[in-house]
């Protein structure tokens, strides 16, 4: 129950952050990726803002034996740089560049009642399903 409240709070803060940063405006994201056009570097500043906070806090949090409300940390131990990492990231990047959305803004855009977000979320789940069902098991 408490964990669900934290999840709700974290989702709201994340959604407000994406809104304030205008990362739910897909054309702003495309303008970041459009380095030969009218370039908008804002997305880098979003990442820097998040990274400065998370870099300091993660280091401190992960010194703890456990999180405050759970038995352990769920963190990927996978450190391999392999074909599926590179190919998967490239495929994701192509979809990102085609649409101007990544998963966070796609879901968050539902709060704007954006029809595009509905299409994106359905298509992303279709991609999950096809990968999990036919390609995955890693």
């Amino acid at each position: 129950m408490k964990q669900n409240l934290i999840a709700l709070l974290c989702g709201i803060i994340f959604g407000v952050g994406l809104s304030l940063a205008q990362m739910i405006n897909p054309n702003k994201v495309l303008n970041f990726l459009d380095i030969t056009g009218n370039w908008d570097p804002s997305l880098i500043f979003v990442m820097l803002g998040a990274l400065i906070v998370a870099f300091i806090s993660f280091k401190w949090i992960l010194k703890r034996p456990a999180p405050l409300l759970a038995e352990g940390f769920h963190i990927s131990k996978n450190s391999s740089v392999d074909k599926s990492l590179l190919l998967g990231a490239a495929i994701f990047g192509i979809g990102w560049g085609m649409s101007g959305y990544c998963p966070g803004p796609a879901v968050t855009g539902l709060g704007l009642l954006s029809l595009e977000s509905v299409i994106l979320v359905v298509a992303i789940y279709l991609g999950f399903f096809v990968y999990n069902r036919f390609l995955g098991q890693k």
Binding site: V16, P26, P41, L51, L112, A123
Partner: protein, 143 residues
């Protein structure tokens, strides 16, 4: 660069940083949205509720922000359906194959000093930039 908004971008980013901080500190979870989304349907049954609640929070956050600051973010209209649908499909398959997206690899992974996440982030950014160059400047599918 007339659309460059460094202050609201950094402040919004810091909020995202606070969100992933609290999620890790209290629940021990990584705030990677593609992984959270995927688990709503594909994680063990007892590990699904918080994920759906987090996603509902994202939507609620944008909804509240929109009430407070109307017209700050306006939904895009008339973007080619094929680019949205195929793009979304590739986002879904690609993030599963590589194990993360902009938040999971780009923020949480890099903050945790993961080389794997740094390389994923550089890769999807490069792929995104090449793709935008093609659709905007070579094929001229969108303005």
């Amino acid at each position: 660069m007339e659309n460059f908004t460094p202050f609201s971008a950094t402040a919004g980013g810091a909020l995202i940083g606070i969100s992933v901080t609290l999620l890790l500190l209290f629940n021990g979870r990584i705030g990677g949205v593609s992984g959270i989304m995927n688990g709503v349907f594909f994680a063990p049954k007892n590990d699904r509720n918080w994920r759906l609640i987090f996603l509902a929070g994202l939507i609620l956050g944008a909804f509240i922000f929109q009430l407070l600051v109307p017209d700050f973010n306006v939904p895009r209209q008339n973007y080619p359906l094929l680019l949205l649908g195929l793009g979304g499909f590739l986002i879904g398959a690609g993030t599963r194959m590589s194990g993360g997206c902009t938040s999971g690899h780009g923020i949480c992974g890099i903050a945790n000093l993961s080389i794997r996440s740094l390389i994923a982030t550089l890769t999807f950014m490069a792929a995104g930039m090449i793709t935008v160059y093609i659709i905007r400047h070579s094929l001229e599918l969108v303005a």
